[in-house]
Symmetry: C2
Subunit: 431 residues, 2 copies
């Protein structure tokens, strides 16, 4: 490895001569000094040279350099220390014609241009911070579940047919046959519960060929999925999600304080979100806001308003919407025995946006087959899925959290594309 210290380690080397490495963020002459600011994976480093220096002035921003010098304490420098430049070397020069400036406080450029040049916009400290936080969300999700004896699984994304019906599927030519990209790992995670693992999770891509091109949709996203057996009802799944998110937010607050500060974001304080049946949510919206909801549903404005209402009433920044009608949920959703027009299912809304769908699933073979028929589906088409129910399936349920939605709501990003490294949408296939 190239011997160097990072911005995070710099201050600890005060008094010693070290080499640092990174991208040139800015070169600036000030009186009799030349300041070179470089960026590495953790942050900024200031190096200072005496006098004007034509070679330094000539380095294009974004070039990769090594700088050697003595480390001195300097409270005003980004790492609490600076380098008294003795030597430098350009190891990869950059084209000076950058499509936008990277060394300003914000990237004041349209999102499309930023995404077109994603490798550059990602270098901006604020964009960089988004995906540092996202990586911590992923790690915290997995660590929490492993601590609860969940087993991680990798299930196929090339499937013979869709999970939730035949629409919104991307077709794949699989040798001589037609296949599809998986819309969710739903069937597989249930099958893995019944295959004896009882508690499983998967972090993987899912695909939705939705035609609409909004700030709330991307066509390939990362789904944080879990499924567990031996539950009493969907309440157990909501209980688990509360504990999970409490831990995930605690971890991010603990390990990414500087990223949250830079993004002016705050992890929500732990509070058990209220659990409101959809019908009750609709009547709150009607009463408090004169808002009419679509039949048996909520629209985006309704999601925002109910979150606002709950927050104003001291209920926190999240709310479970429960008891969705049978007609609005997939065929495998467990009906509510006390009112079979409703299901044991829920959405979790966070700061105005749905980030989770979950619930209890039907576990008895006969009931599931009957429900398929009632839904106008042919059980024979689900033979592989049904097998696990034929041979002993415990009561179970689970949920899926959209990683990009969780990231966006946590960090106050307005468009899901800002929470995806290389988003895929209705028109975007590159970079």
């Amino acid at each position: 490895m190239i011997s160097r210290v990072t911005s995070r380690e710099l201050a600890a080397h005060t008094g010693r001569t070290v080499t640092v490495a990174g991208w040139v963020h800015r070169v600036r002459a000030l009186g009799n000094l030349t300041f070179v600011i470089i960026r590495d994976r953790h942050g900024l480093i200031q190096a200072v040279a005496e006098g004007r220096n034509g070679d330094l002035d000539a380095i294009a921003n974004e070039s990769v350099v090594l700088i050697t010098g003595e480390v001195a304490r300097e409270e005003r420098a980004p790492s609490g220390a600076e380098l008294r430049l003795q030597d430098f070397r350009v190891i990869a020069p950059a084209d000076p014609a950058l499509p936008f400036e990277l060394n300003k406080k914000d990237l004041n450029t349209g999102l499309d241009l930023l995404l077109d040049h994603r490798v550059l916009s990602l270098r901006h400290p604020k964009t960089h911070a988004v995906f540092t936080v996202q990586a911590e969300l992923l790690a915290a999700f997995r660590d929490f579940l492993r601590g609860r004896e969940f087993t991680e699984v990798c299930t196929p994304k090339i499937v013979a047919s869709g999970t939730e019906g035949g629409s919104e599927l991307f077709p794949v030519r699989y040798f001589e046959r037609q296949a599809y990209l998986a819309q969710s790992p739903q069937f597989y995670k249930q099958m893995m519960v019944g295959a004896g693992y009882e508690r499983v999770f998967e972090v993987g891509h899912v695909y939705r060929a939705e035609e609409h091109n909004t700030s709330r949709h991307i066509n390939e996203f990362t789904s944080l999925d879990l499924e567990m057996g031996f539950i009493d009802s969907e309440e157990d799944v909501m209980d688990l999600e509360v504990e999970l998110l409490t831990e995930v937010f605690r971890r991010v607050a603990e390990r990414c304080p500087s990223e949250l500060e830079l993004l002016e974001a705050q992890a929500p304080v732990a509070a058990a979100p209220p659990r409101l049946p959809l019908a009750e949510v609709q009547s709150i919206l009607a009463k408090e806001y004169g808002k009419e909801s679509p039949p048996e549903g909520l629209d985006p404005e309704g999601e925002r308003l109910i979150c606002e209402h709950v927050a104003r009433s001291g209920g926190g920044e999240m709310v479970f919407v429960t008891r969705w009608p049978v007609a609005k949920r997939p065929v495998y959703t467990h009906p509510e025995p006390a009112d079979p027009t409703l299901t044991r299912s829920f959405d979790l809304l966070f700061r105005g946006l749905e980030i989770t769908t979950g619930g209890q699933r039907i576990h008895l073979y006969d009931q599931l087959v009957r429900n398929m028929v009632a839904f106008g589906l042919n059980p024979a088409a689900f033979e592989n899925y049904l097998e696990v129910f034929r041979f002993g399936m415990p009561p179970h349920g689970g949920l899926a959290i959209g990683l990009e939605r969780l990231t966006a709501r946590l960090l106050g990003l307005n468009n899901l594309r800002e929470a995806s490294l290389f988003p895929r949408d209705r028109t975007r296939l590159t970079p």
Copy 2:
């Protein structure tokens, strides 16, 4: 949650009345006693009832049951304790017509039948153990890299064109356009190094539309990818892989001792694998085994023999094959300055099978563009990839480990399909 204790916790509840839950593995009358063995996510539990019991006898194997009873120490029972049965309840009955028996020591059935009924074959303790180990491999890979300040990334699997050339791609219909499934995250992980993260890893699916249908190939697999900047040469990448695998194997040995024992597998002892140039490997094969290798390459027999040779010479169970010819490596591979017909690349062979490909990559824009032209490629087609090189890319390299290959070699599985939960191959698209 249904209140129950698992097989792992059972012995700690000696003297108390508890409920256990799981799948009926076997019911057996012995003299005046009836034994019911159930399986939960951790192992087997024995319950014993006095006298013959028609209701117990009538339960089909694989039914999901709850059994309540008092826990008694019993050294010969699978969990070191057994349950004196007081009550039981079938919560999901199983069809008695199982396609194969699950309660024998081994699943003595052809692989195709086992895969056709994967949710059932996964219930067998030996198959179950394979994927418990695989989940630990995944966790250990990530934990090691996070400890080395690698950032996890999620990059797209729907791409506009192939990474390694145009062949062996699965086409996807992406709305009005043609797209493909990613053969590897190669370009994206390099782009993320250059986007300022310096060290990144990804665990994700990759797709190869290879026509051959062998025990060494599946068409969708899980790739453990990493890429890092500021390296001196490919030797740094090999150094990292040795430390990584040492830690991964240590973790599996520590956390999955019963699974390894059940599978009669051993994690390899830590040993720095020798690093042999391909030309030297070929001459060893010729000299020691009279084996002729394909020009500039190794065939599967050669991979087996060189591993055998290294093991016999006390070199351990792994070997790096280095210095592959330019013609055998992708366009982005860094040439060896001392001999530009060769590259700074390597494969890692483990117990006779290649499990890793890696190397240093070209990081200078002009050199990469020239190499594309020399390879007969049109640089304009790689505009998005090339951008990061145009704006400052550090020296870098990385590797990819095939998760199924690593799992199979570690556990002594002969067919990669045994190391994939739901394999996709030339003919298999289900379950």
